[in-house]
Symmetry: C2
Subunit: 207 residues, 2 copies
Amino acid sequence: MTDSENEGNSLDLRHQEKMRRRKEIQDREVAGKSVEKGLLVVHTGPGKGKSTAAFGLALRMLGHGRRVVVVQFIKGAWQTGERAALARFDDLLEWHTMGEGFTWETQDRARDIAACARAWDVARAALARDDVALVILDELNIALRYDHLPLDRVLAGLRARPAMQHVVVTGRNAKLDLIADADLVTEMTLVKHHFRAGVKSQEGIEF
Amino acid sequence: MTDSENEGNSLDLRHQEKMRRRKEIQDREVAGKSVEKGLLVVHTGPGKGKSTAAFGLALRMLGHGRRVVVVQFIKGAWQTGERAALARFDDLLEWHTMGEGFTWETQDRARDIAACARAWDVARAALARDDVALVILDELNIALRYDHLPLDRVLAGLRARPAMQHVVVTGRNAKLDLIADADLVTEMTLVKHHFRAGVKSQEGIEF
């Protein structure tokens, strides 16, 4: 065996030993977790991917043949791509677009509040069904931020849902009381954005 | 008109004026963007949602009837939910699982490097096709981090792709040179995680 073969072998062996120890730790961690519960998941922060990751989670759930309800609180005509794609799952997925666009599109506070109230009624109905495995409350954080919905009522509705039902709430500026109740919170942080470089919205990326 | 009606009206009018100004700014910003290009998108950071958001983007692209290729560099048996769901799109989607699990599962560095080299060959083929609108290089950052693939070769391959092709690279610890080349970088930050509270991996959430 040459020196360099020896060196390669020794590197491989050290790697193997390191990974063996890492696997032991991983296995122990996995064995230590036994709770099963419906999670309250929050996707917040100024970065992209909050709603997109929620729809990715919908896809995962649908792949297991389980029922998903999406309620959109703010966006209207957006997400045409996802809607078209998810139409292939109309046996398992219900999609409710209740918002009428961003508040700077409608420019009508009373109308926005009324739209949010209607969206919450639809959400509450989904949160009461134990045949629904996942409820996505898209841009609910925006509705809460503008006080278009009372936070207490929303938190009570979330707490009263079936024990095994998962919920994802998306939108910037998640309320602290919602984060306190949540099981999993991810903040999407903007590191670099192509809009700054003059690139416009493109099919399949922004819509 | 009562005082409280007057007050409500005045609040509504102030809101309307504020939102009108905001819409002007938005419209001006949108009008200022004219570039169309294939984006290099990076999802990194320790939080959840990096791959999930990438698959959500795949969904959006598929909804527009455009072709998507997924190459998984590390994960093997994971993401069973997404795979099952995306099987409904086999007319538009190609999915290549090239990795054999995390490095602490295989415990074999030489085998990991060989698997990464095979995955990169498949990726390069997709990056050369202008009928492919989106290429997802899932967990490529992990392969680069462990130096299982030469960074220069990967960056050259990404730069040589068709001008309108979008790419998403996922995984923790994205290399700085990759971030420098990217158009859109999002860091998923972990705020709170249910594993800490003893909750185990559940169908439709983790797999």
